[in-house]
Amino acid sequence: MVKTFQDIPGVEWVEGTGNFITIDEEKCTGCGNCLKVCLAGCYEIVNKKARIRSTEKCMECGACWYVCEDGAIDFSWPAGGTGFRTNWG
């Protein structure tokens, strides 16, 4: 299934990505850096821990992974042919 969102025109998301971003709750200190850099609103803080709210608008940039000082975020790639795609990059 392909999704689009009004607030991010020109981009489609193909479902079936798998969990390509994970958070190690043990390592996370809830600093919130991931929220500061995520343009897709993928993260939230619950009980002083970062949690993935949804990766449905994720553009796979990895900014969250770069700024995670705790090494709690693991970033890989969605399954082949899934995730975001655009004609206008």
């Binding site: 929220l35 969605p78 082949g80």
Partner: protein
């Protein structure tokens, strides 16, 4: 187990197809793996490929008809205060058909490159994510795909882009530090060609400000606010480094706030541009612009036993201009040459592949552009609040000063000398390329793509 391929290239962005094509042209059994369905549909960038990439890069690009959007013949730097343009620098201007660069969308251009690789005999497998490398006795011997398939090769060329997961999994590199990374956001607007011609001409445009203006992260903290002009669209964008003054700012909030401020406060946007455009797309990505300026990043290896790393994955991103395409092409070409020599010699060890590093370091552009401090130094100018110094530096950065010998002039002269030594007819080829690219643009006629 017998090896299935001589070379596996991971990634069909701007660098991968160049490496794969050269390997195949040399008779190597080559496969290129790409995680997207169509090459380039996950490559997100505002893009004006600078001219030195075309002049000194792969011959097949120079002699081909790639899908270019607009020849960029000048750089317009506008200086803005309180929403008004108070000065400009338009010192970098070239007559047609010469260009300082060419704008393009990533999807058609990467598809065009991948098509050329396939024409040369490269096996292209799309919608395939590489999840790990196969290692034997410490040496990379292939990759594992998301379908669990094991593909073996004598050499793996990692062209996976900024996030460089594969070279990390191979134990060769580490993740870039956030100080090196810029997060940029791009808005794509449709605009009638005659309006682009009238409002921008064949220029790309920058809006330079002091930080308190808040209409874009100024050069140094980011990329300022820029407009790449296409055939019948424009591509404004801006970037912000993930770390500013030692802190991680709220980049997501800042980028949106800056663009909102720009579109509400700057008269040029409100009166000259906004009435003529329709928003078509919003995208974002990161790139390792300052990787070459941070010693720990610069000294990370870009090769290991059985593996060569090219382009953004190796941190070959211009620290001054933020363009990665020329260095992706140059490093791809060098890597393919080294892969051929290694396979012929039957030695793909790290010690043999060190010649890749030696040649990268001898390239006139790669090391020079990753260590160019002009953008980094702008932060001091911004702190000084000196408008005259800002203008002087911008002229040196994005104006005619960019071609001073100590900046791009030196590498261009070296590369020109080297090119003429190899082929006395190269100057005529360059002129023919300028003419043909310009004619293609005027007639809107480029090579058909496999996806057409």
């Amino acid at each position: 187990m017998a090896e299935q391929y001589d070379v596996i290239v991971v990634g069909a962005g701007f660098g991968g197809p160049v490496a794969a094509k050269r390997c195949a042209d040399s008779g190597l059994h080559t496969i290129m793996l790409e995680r997207s369905r169509i090459p380039g549909e996950k490559v997100v960038s505002g893009l004006v490929i600078p001219i030195y990439g075309f002049l000194f890069g792969p011959e097949f690009i120079r002699e081909g008809n790639p899908p270019l959007e607009r020849p960029i013949r000048s750089v317009m730097n506008r200086f803005v205060k309180n929403g008004e343009i108070y000065d400009y620098d338009h010192s970098l201007r070239l007559p047609a058909p010469i260009a300082v660069g060419y704008s393009t969308y990533c999807k058609p251009f990467c598809t065009w490159l991948a098509d050329r690789a396939v024409d040369s005999g490269v096996e292209l497998r799309t919608a395939t994510t590489v999840v790990d490398v196969i290692k034997e006795n410490g040496s990379v011997r292939g990759v594992i795909t998301d379908k669990g398939e094991e593909l073996r090769s004598k050499i793996v060329i990692d062209a996976g882009g900024t996030q460089n997961n594969l070279s990390i999994k191979a134990g060769i590199r580490k993740k870039f530090v956030p100080e090196a990374i810029e997060l940029y956001m791009i808005w794509d607007f449709e605009m009638a060609k005659e309006d682009v011609d009238r409002v921008f001409g064949n220029s790309m445009e920058f809006f330079h400000v002091m930080p308190e203006e808040r209409i874009g992260a100024p050069l140094g903290y980011g990329s300022a606010l820029y407009f790449f002009t296409y055939r019948n669209s424009i591509h404004p964008g801006m970037g912000q480094f993930l770390v500013t003054e030692g802190k991680i700012p709220n980049v997501a909030k800042l980028l949106r706030e800056y663009f909102d401020n720009f579109t509400t406060k700057v008269r040029r946007w409100r009166e000259d541009i906004a009435p003529k455009v329709t928003l078509r797309a919003v995208t974002w990505d990161v790139c390792p612009i300052y990787a070459g300026l941070i010693r720990e990043m610069r000294e990370m290896p870009y090769f290991g036993d059985g593996m060569l790393i090219i382009g953004d994955a190796a941190g070959f991103e211009s620290a001054a201009f933020g363009d990665g395409v020329p260095s992706a092409w140059f490093s791809a070409d060098i890597a393919a040459g080294v892969a051929l020599e290694a396979i012929k010699a039957g030695d793909t060890s790290r010690s043999f592949l060190k010649r890749y590093e030696d040649r990268v370091k001898a390239d006139p552009f790669i090391m020079h552009t990753i260590t160019d401090t002009r953008r980094w130094d702008m932060r001091e100018v911004l702190k000084s609040k000196s408008e005259s110094e800002l203008k002087r530096r911008i002229r040196d950065h994005w104006g005619i000063g960019a071609f001073k010998y100590k900046y791009l002039g030196g590498p261009c002269l070296k590369a020109t000398g080297r090119s003429i030594k190899n082929d006395a007819g190269i100057v005529a080829e360059w002129l023919e390329m300028f003419r043909r690219y310009y004619r293609n643009w005027e007639e809107d006629r480029f090579d058909r793509l496999s996806t057409d």
